[in-house]
Symmetry: C2
Subunit: 232 residues, 2 copies
C-alpha cells in the first residue's frame, strides 16, 4: 500500500471526513444533474441540428458522471438524493439568476460555468484521499464543451461585433453569481468548510491559501474568457 493510500484509509475512518466527502460528492452530483437539465434545455435553442446534437451530447456526458458518484456515495454510507438535497436550493438559485437569454449566453454559461466548477472542485480534490480525488477529477472531464463553444462564440462575434460586449458582461455576471452561491454553501455546510481547513492527519488550507486559490480560479476564468475573444 502506498503512503497516500494509507492516508486515505485513515481519513476515511473519521466520520466527519466521510460526511464531508458525501457532501462534496453530493454538491458535485447535483451540479452535474442541473448542468444536464440546462444543456438539454439549451439544445432547444440551437440554431441548427448539428448544434442541437452537439449540446445534447454534452448533456448526456454530464449525466453519465452521476453513476460513479452515486456508487461512491453509497459506499460511504450515504444515498444520492440525500447527498444532493442540501445543495439543490443554492444551485437552482444560481440557475434562476443566470437563465440565458439566447443561444450564445447558454453556450458561454456551459463553458465558463462548468470550467469554473471544474477548477474549484479540482482544487478541493487535492486535499482528499486518492480514491475520492481521482473520482472527482474524472467527473470534471471536459465533455467536449471547450472547442465547440469557442468556435461558435468566436464565429458569432465575427458576424456581429456588438455581441462581444454583451457576452463579456454576461461572463462577469456568471462569475459573480457562482461566487455568491459558493459562499452561501460554504457558510451553511460546516462539514464542507472543515474539509478545506484540514484535520489532524490531513493538511488544510489557511486563509492565505484560500486567497491564492481564488486568485488561481480568477486567472483561469480570465483565460477562458480570452479564448472566447471576450474581456473578463
Amino acid at each position: 500500500m502506498t503512503e497516500s493510500a494509507a492516508d486515505g484509509l485513515v481519513a476515511l475512518q473519521d466520520p466527519a471526513y466521510r460526511q464531508a466527502v458525501v457532501d462534496l460528492l453530493g454538491v458535485i452530483a447535483y451540479g452535474e444533474l442541473s448542468a444536464f437539465e440546462r444543456l438539454a434545455e439549451d439544445a432547444r435553442l440551437a440554431p441548427t441540428l448539428d448544434d442541437k446534437l452537439a449540446i445534447a451530447s454534452m448533456a448526456a456526458a454530464e449525466f453519465s458522471h452521476l453513476a460513479p458518484l452515486q456508487e461512491r456515495i453509497v459506499a460511504l454510507g450515504g444515498d444520492l438524493p440525500g447527498a444532493m438535497a442540501p445543495f439543490q436550493r443554492a444551485i437552482d438559485d444560481f440557475h434562476v439568476h443566470t437563465s440565458p437569454a439566447d443561444w450564445f449566453e447558454g453556450l458561454i454559461k456551459a463553458y465558463v460555468g462548468d470550467g469554473l466548477a471544474a477548477d474549484f472542485y479540482r482544487e478541493i480534490a487535492a486535499y482528499l484521499d486518492p480514491d475520492t480525488r481521482d473520482l472527482i477529477v474524472a467527473s470534471m472531464e471536459d465533455a467536449g464543451h471547450a472547442d465547440f463553444v469557442v468556435d461558435r462564440v468566436r464565429a458569432g462575434i465575427a458576424d456581429d461585433p456588438r455581441l462581444g460586449g454583451r457576452l463579456a458582461l454576461w461572463g462577469r455576471r456568471l462569475m459573480g453569481e457562482a461566487l455568491s452561491q459558493a459562499q452561501r454553501v460554504a457558510a451553511e455546510r460546516d462539514a464542507l468548510s472543515a474539509l478545506l481547513a484540514g484535520g489532524v492527519d490531513r493538511p488544510g488550507m489557511d486563509l492565505a491559501g484560500i486567497g491564492r486559490m481564488f486568485t488561481r480560479l480568477t486567472e483561469r476564468h480570465a483565460e477562458r474568457m480570452s479564448l472566447l475573444g471576450l474581456d473578463s
Copy 2:
C-alpha cells in the same frame, strides 16, 4: 448466408429502398432526440430528487440510441442531421400541441407517446431487411418508462381520484395528435409510404393490412391506458 440476409442485401441495392430506410432512421432519430429534450425538461417538474433522477436517466437512455442510428445512416450514404431534418417540423409540432401542463401529463406523454411510437416502428420494421429491423427494435427498447410511470400515475390517482378523468382525456389527445402528425409525414415523404407498399422483391402491406395495423396500435394503446388505471 440465410435467406433473409440475402433478401436484405438485394433490398439494399435499391436506391429507393436505401433512401426510405435513411428516412425511417432519420424520423426515429429525431423522435429520440426530441424525447430526450422533453424528458430532460420534465425532469425539472419532478416533485422529488428520486423522480428527477428517474426521468433524467430515461432521457439519457433515449440519447444513447442515437449513436447506432447515426452509424447505420452513414453506412447507407446519409448523415444524421440531414436524415432528421425533414421530420423536425412534424415532430416539433406534435410536441408544441402536446406540451404537458404538469408532472403527471409529462409522465403519461413519455409512456403513452413512446409506447405508441415503439409499436408503430416495430410494425414497419417487420417489412425491412434484418439488420435494419434489429437496429430499430433495439432503438425502441423501453428505457424503464413503464414500471416507473405506472407506479407514479396510479399513486397520483389514488391520492386524487379527479386526476384520472383529466389524464384519460390527455391520453386520447396524445393519440389523436400522434396520428395526425404521422399522416402528415406519410403524405409528405413518398419514400416512407413506398416502404409500406413493398417492392418487387419485398412483400408490402395492402390497405386491409394497414387497417389491421392501426387496430393493433389502438389495442396496445388501450392496454397501456388500462395499466395506468385510465379509460382510453
